[in-house]
């Protein structure tokens, strides 16, 4: 997010936690139906929204369900009626939704879901890492990751804008780090209610809404002679999303003064080493990069806001002169070459002429803190690789006890 220096108009400012900010954004999106099951640290989103509905502040149905599997089933079906829908979950809740995740995207239901990132059991843990949403990266959902509370708020509007675009029609996750964002109070600039409604496309949100007068078969059987074609349609919709997302972000910039992109780069113009990360960690990395640049080190950062679809062409261009890329994975891909972000980047740069050295850092599992000292060590690790021309270990664990 880049904040424009010119003030667009008088804005309302609130102190909100990440969860409250998401609920506030959903309230302003004119949603018709919300169905969710509470789970720490997402709970406050659901609590606030149920209060808004009970108080008449949001004119929506709130369907309380017995599980996340049902919550996503409800919102998926409701989206097919043309309604604007919302749900939210974390960790085990997302795991329980897994079966329906693929159904939502395959039915092309433009559902928006907030995921408050939390580690997966076992051992049970309520704190942040990205193993929940990274496990869902191939499920056909668009994934946005917020760095701070303002971004969590802003990305909700942009998620609806992209999901409901007729050339996309893919469900979208807005991911925010558990506790670090969900429970931390930050200053949030709200957008105007009327601007929000003007920004969002008109309803029905889905082009073939359920209508008894015009019967349509939803979710039929498709055997080997047709199934493959529907999957290629989904792959194509992801490609379309790569075109639609910058337009949606551009338009959001005009109403909010906050300009988003697939990613936010810092210091890449002359950097030898770039560290790429998702979510709240990106703020720490940028802060430390600034310190190191003052000390004369050529380092930069990339915060990836859009992880799926992976903005490969734009990333390749932004990182074309970088010697060493360090991918920061807040998840473990057991038995793989490295973490998912690392593998995406390595695969992307295999074809590049420069072919930078790429290293993987796995950090922050189960909410393990990443301190500025850790961040400094990660940059130094990248600088060392740049000097030696050699990646000593494919996956380096940072912050774990030996």
């Amino acid at each position: 997010m880049v904040v424009s220096s010119e003030k667009i108009k008088k804005v309302r400012i609130l102190g909100l936690t990440g969860d409250e900010a998401v609920a506030q954004a959903v309230k302003q999106c004119d949603v018709d139906l919300i169905s969710a099951y509470p789970i720490t640290p997402q709970t406050i989103i659901v609590e606030r929204l149920s209060e808004f509905v009970a108080n008449g502040e949001v004119d929506a149905e709130f369907i309380a369900v017995e599980s996340e599997h049902s919550a996503l089933s409800v919102v998926t079906a409701a989206a097919l009626t043309g309604a604007r829908v919302f749900t939210a979950t974390s960790s085990q809740g997302l795991a329980l939704m897994f079966e329906i995740l693929y159904i939502t995207s395959a039915l092309r239901a433009p559902v928006v879901m907030a995921i408050v990132n939390r580690a997966l059991s076992a051992p049970i843990n309520i704190h942040c890492d990205h193993s929940d949403t990274m496990g869902a990266r191939d499920s056909g959902w668009i994934q946005f990751y917020a760095e701070n509370v303002q971004e969590a708020y802003d990305l909700v509007f942009q998620a609806y804008k992209v999901a409901e675009n007729k050339s996309v029609l893919l469900p979208t996750m807005v991911c925010l780090d558990g506790f670090t964002l969900s429970h931390t109070l930050e200053r949030v600039e709200l957008i105007d209610d009327t601007d929000a409604l003007k920004y969002l496309p008109s309803k029905p949100t889905y082009p073939f809404p359920i209508n008894p007068e015009k019967p349509i078969t939803y979710g039929p059987l498709a055997l080997p002679d047709f199934y493959f074609e529907f999957k290629v349609q989904q792959a194509e919709a992801m490609k379309q999303a790569l075109k639609v997302i910058p337009e949606a972000m551009e338009e959001f910039g005009r109403i909010s003064g906050r300009k988003y992109g697939f990613f936010e780069a810092y210091g890449l113009e002359d950097a030898d080493v770039a560290v790429i990360s998702l979510g709240s960690t990106s703020g720490t990395m940028r802060y430390v990069a600034k310190e190191l640049r003052k000390e004369g080190y050529k380092v930069g950062t990339v915060k990836l806001t859009v992880y799926r679809p992976f903005p490969q062409d734009e990333l390749a261009k932004a990182l074309e002169n970088i010697k060493v890329i360090v991918a920061m994975d807040r998840t473990l891909s057991f038995g793989a070459v490295g973490g998912p972000l690392f593998e995406d980047l390595r695969s992307l740069f295999y074809d590049s002429e420069q072919r930078p050295l790429i290293a993987d850092v796995v950090y922050g599992l189960g909410g393990r803190d990443l301190t500025p000292d850790d961040a400094r060590a990660i940059f130094k690790y990248g600088l060392e690789i740049s000097k030696t021309g050699h990646v000593p270990e494919k996956v380096k664990f940072v912050g774990v006890r030996e």
Binding site: A106, L107, R108, L169, F208, P215, I216, T217, Y218, G219, P220, A222, D225, F226, E229, F230, V232, Q233, E236
Partner: protein, 98 residues
């Protein structure tokens, strides 16, 4: 066999926009046992018509008059429910191809 449409030519998400299109699928091919109606025993009570899960019992007649009950062999899967529910035992299941 005619060429099937490519991914650009079919509706999104597996939608079937034309209602009643399952009529085109000849599920009668799946049948192992074929129901045969003994019209001498049949009293046209229509219990088979009520219970048939595939709407494969056809009423021949006009208005409220039932002249005869027939079976749509293009869609009957041979489940045998009609044989079970017939109070006059007027339907028997005969092996296909036998």
């Amino acid at each position: 066999m005619s060429k099937k449409p490519g991914w650009r030519e079919i509706p999104i998400g597996g939608l079937i926009l034309e209602p009643g299109s399952t009529v085109k699928v000849r599920t009668g091919d799946w049948r192992t046992f074929r129901p045969i109606i003994d019209h001498d025993k049949c009293i046209k009570c229509l219990m088979c018509w009520i219970y048939c899960p595939d709407a494969s019992i056809i009423i021949v007649g006009s208005g409220d008059t039932v002249e005869r009950v027939e079976i749509d062999y293009d869609h009957c899967k041979g489940c045998g429910i009609c044989e079970r529910v017939c109070p006059r035992k007027a339907i028997s299941m005969v092996p296909e191809g036998g």
